[in-house]
């Protein structure tokens, strides 16, 4: 019978990570969602969201 690795430790760590995320302050969690949205938009369109555009300045 083929032997597979035991990933219970990985699952346990994931669970711990989820709990630590849940324990974050509300503002921090909302901030994470906005960042996630920015990342998703960047992946989809290549555009960054909510960052000011750089203006070219004329050198005198």
């Amino acid at each position: 019978m083929k032997k597979y690795p035991d990933i219970s430790e990985i699952i346990k760590k994931k669970e711990q990570h989820r709990r630590s995320l849940a324990a974050l302050p509300f503002e921090k969690k909302i901030e994470m969602i906005f960042k996630l949205r920015e990342r998703r938009k960047f992946i989809k369109t290549g555009q960054t969201v909510g960052r000011p555009q750089k203006h070219k300045t004329k050198s005198s």
């Binding site: 995320l21 909302i30 969602i33």
Partner: protein, 169 residues
């Protein structure tokens, strides 16, 4: 979101809304790990005897006058899509009534309690609602005794028992 909440609080002060509470995914995120969501659900009690959806008209008029734009079922307030929902049954009414006061970036706001969120999700019963219920149960985000009291009060015990296998960890 801070500026959005300030606008909503001003609506209460000016009497457009009697009382409100954040519900839906954003409220769930207050208790759980963060997950992506499109909008901010605001459950409102309004000072009117009307029982149809026109009760939201004064609220929209107020916001449009202030320059905020409705788009589909949302209205964008300070860049955030907000969906206003009038309390539509005794459960949602109680959820707003018993919501808790919290601070978000030093702005006072009200958020539904986990037991009411879970009961509303059970009542709504979409697959994503069951998924979120399982997150609440898994992460110990809900007081089971209080949840059962809410479920009993609103006739949801049978639905809970019938569907428990879908979300019990």
């Amino acid at each position: 979101m801070k500026e959005t909440l300030k606008v909503i609080n001003r609506m209460v002060k000016s009497g457009v809304i009697a009382k409100y509470a954040i519900g839906g995914a954003v409220a769930a995120i207050y208790y759980l790990e963060p997950f992506d969501t499109a909008d901010l659900d605001i459950f409102v009690q309004v000072n009117t005897a009307d029982s149809d959806l026109t009760i939201l008209a004064p609220l929209y008029e107020y916001l449009i006058k202030k320059g905020y734009k409705p788009k589909g079922e949302f209205i964008y307030i300070e860049g955030l899509p907000v969906q206003f929902l009038p309390v539509f049954n005794p459960l949602t009414e109680e959820a707003v009534e018993k919501s808790q006061t919290i601070k978000y970036a030093r702005v006072t706001t009200r958020i539904m309690r986990p037991e009411h969120l879970v009961a509303i999700m059970l009542d709504t019963g979409r697959p994503k609602d069951y998924l979120r219920i399982s997150m609440f149960l898994e992460q110990g985000g809900v007081n089971m005794r209080q949840l059962h009291t809410v479920l009993r009060r609103h006739g949801l015990i049978k639905k809970w028992k019938d569907n428990e296998y879908k979300f019990k960890p």
